[in-house]
């Protein structure tokens, strides 16, 4: 029976050798690749910006594009440039994207991977000037097991056909999380999505309403106050009512309103206190709020409000 132990030792020794070899190879390859990629990225960025500034129709030449990993570097550089800027002339970018074959390359990479790696390729595609055909190619990822893949497939389709934004977001099967909403709003900031808040906030669809509230909060649209109060009074226990209250707080609207008081009364103690802390942070005074939530919570709220002040006269 020592044989079993010897066999195990042989197996473990092979695993150690393989892992150690993998560590050495990875360190060598990663080190060289990082240096090379940093240089290539800088070169490609320079070429792209020169091309954008020069306003010519010729597609620039990218050195070493056929080498391993270079297309990925170009895709990442373009995606990063697009997400950090707005108002770029998409013509040159589309030509570069097409000539370098980045769309089939990224779709192929997405097909061959799973999970977060696939989501990353889709995330890159969503930021690049892909054509409408890419929307059909990523449609099948809409039912992927991994949530990030489903979401970034939606983002690719939004970028490919912004006119279908409301239908696509409305049909998205999962309730949009706060992170996903912030990603969609950042697409809006780049001018990719032509959406207005009113049809969103009035929509019966949960995702569209959430997006409407996020837009109201981020762009400080005070005219939406009545809409928010209506949502707070209609959605008495769900996430939307809570989001509406926080949006009102971010807009610094009066909180001593009947709808707000009623909704706060339905919150748990922890949720109510979280909202009170948010109000103290936004600068609400202890008198402006009144005492709609009762004697128990008022001292709690006041303790935070007063910590932003200093008594000069005792």
């Amino acid at each position: 029976m020592t044989r079993i132990v010897m066999l195990y030792c042989a197996f473990a020794a092979c695993v150690v050798v393989l892992l150690s070899g993998a560590v050495v190879v990875r360190r060598l390859v990663d080190g060289r690749r990082h240096r090379r990629d940093a240089l290539l990225s800088r070169q490609y960025l320079h070429i792209v910006i020169l091309s954008l500034m020069s306003e010519t129709d010729t597609v620039p030449h990218f050195p070493r594009l056929e080498s391993a990993g270079a297309r990925m570097v170009l895709a990442e550089t373009l995606a990063r440039l697009v997400s950090s800027t707005y108002g770029l002339d998409l013509g040159p970018l589309r030509r570069i994207f097409r000539d370098a074959g980045l769309q089939p390359f990224l779709l192929r990479c997405a097909r061959r991977t799973r999970g977060c790696r696939r989501a990353r390729y889709l995330s890159l595609l969503s930021r690049l000037p892909a054509d409408a055909a890419v929307a059909a190619a990523v449609e099948r990822y809409g039912s992927d097991r991994h949530r990030a893949v489903r979401f970034y497939a939606l983002m690719v389709r939004l970028a490919a056909d912004p006119s279908m934004a409301l239908q696509l977001i409305g049909a998205y099967p999962d309730p949009l999380s706060a992170f996903e909403l912030s990603e969609i709003v950042s697409m809006l900031r780049r001018g990719v999505l032509p959406v207005a808040y009113e049809p969103l906030i009035e929509s019966p669809n949960r995702n569209l309403r959430s997006l409407g509230i996020a837009i109201v909060r981020q762009f400080g649209i005070e005219e939406a106050e009545e809409n928010l109060l209506r949502i707070a009074s209609e959605d008495t226990t769900g996430e939307l009512g809570r989001e509406a209250l926080y949006a009102l707080c971010a807009l610094r609207r009066p909180m001593a309103r009947r709808e707000v008081v009623r909704r706060m009364g339905l919150m748990s103690r922890a949720e109510r206190r979280a909202l009170l802390r948010c109000m103290a942070l936004e600068g609400y005074s202890e008198t402006a709020f009144g005492s709609p939530v009762g004697d128990e919570e008022t001292p709690y709220f006041e303790s935070f409000v007063l910590s932003y002040k200093r008594c000069l006269v005792c």
Binding site: M1, T2, I4, V5, M6, Y8, C9, A12, A13, V15, V16, L19, S20, A22, V23, R26, D30, H34, A38, A79, R80, S83, S84, C116, R117, A119, R120, S123, A148, S177, A178, F179, L181, S182, E183, I184, V185, S186, A214, R217, Q218, E239, R242, E243, Y246, C249, A270, E271, A274, R277, L281, P299, Y300, S303, F304, S307, Y308, K309, R310, C311
Partner: protein
């Protein structure tokens, strides 16, 4: 019996190897997720409601460390620094002067009892509004954290022990993780990789009576999340650690060779299992070279 005993012995070692591989796979997947999320910028613009993080700091060394704490891009973030003005008067005075702090009304929330607090300080300058200093007599780090929770404004708190620093993208990454789920769904986030991380919902910490040993157990498993990424590191990492690791690896290899040559297969099996775990840990280290890459990437160019 002897055969059954050996089978059990080998099975136990194989289970350890399997556990090491499961952890490795989780770390590799976590690295992929981190790479995906590091490219997102939506959260930096204007973070959504409710996912703010208060960092609670005990044993801060001085002005530079406070400045490092404030050097954070995530908008809904504050640093609550607990200092003892009697024990370290120079450091306290330097922080007060540098960040234009004044003492403000201190009326702690009824959350956790805090003894020994002499005062609360906030900055007169708007740019340092994220800094809160609590002047408290030092008894223990736990007492400092409990006092800091009383004045923390955000829904999640991250205690930082003395000598521990946040790595780049720490707060942003945690905020994204919290924002991936509905509000209130997560009460605890921890990570065993690097220095141990424990991000707790403020209300959960209060309900558990502070940062005691029962804190984690008091939070239901369904509301706990474990990430396999490094978030914190030691302020002064030991420069001898890589050398010690290499030395230990050589010693282990020599012991394995010696025990195999001597025919002590059981001992050899245990040592080889240790070697597999060490090799897996080393491979996992190559998956998280973020700090190294960030350092390399931010080489100045003038």
């Amino acid at each position: 019996m002897l055969a059954a005993g050996q089978i059990v012995f080998v099975a136990a070692l194989a289970a350890v190897v399997a556990g090491a591989f499961v952890a490795l796979v989780r770390i590799v997947c976590a690295a992929d997720k981190r790479l995906l999320l590091a490219e997102t910028r939506g959260m930096l613009c204007d973070a959504p409601d409710g996912r703010g993080i208060s960092v609670l700091c005990s044993g801060v060394a001085g002005v530079e460390e406070v400045r490092r704490l404030l050097d954070e891009g995530y908008p809904r973030y504050e640093a609550v620094v607990v200092l003892d003005s009697v024990r370290r008067p120079e450091a306290f005075a330097a922080v007060l002067a540098e960040f234009h702090l004044i003492d403000v009304n201190y009326d702690p929330a009824d959350d956790l009892p805090a003894e020994g607090v002499r005062g609360l300080y906030r900055s007169r300058k708007r740019c340092y509004r994220r800094l809160v200093v609590v002047d408290k007599a030092f008894t223990s780090c736990r007492a400092d954290f409990d006092a800091a929770v009383g004045v923390a404004i955000y829904d999640y708190v991250l205690p930082l022990r003395p000598g521990i620093r946040m790595m780049p993208f720490c707060i942003g990454r945690l905020a994204i993780e919290l924002s991936l789920e509905p509000a209130g769904a997560v009460e605890l986030v921890r990570s065993p990789v690097g220095e141990p991380l424990l991000l707790v919902a403020r209300e959960a910490a209060v309900a558990a009576g502070g940062f005691g040993p029962d804190l984690v157990r008091s939070i239901p498993r369904s509301r706990r999340r474990t990430l396999y990424e490094p978030f914190l590191r030691a302020a002064k990492p030991s420069v001898r650690r890589p050398v010690l690791r290499r030395g230990a690896a050589l010693l282990l290899a020599a012991c394995i060779a010696a025990t195999a040559a001597a025919g002590w297969w059981e001992v050899c099996a245990v040592l080889l299992t240790l070697a597999v775990v060490a090799a897996a840990a080393e491979y996992a280290r190559t998956c998280a070279p973020e700090e190294r890459t960030a350092r390399a990437a931010s080489r100045k160019s003038v």
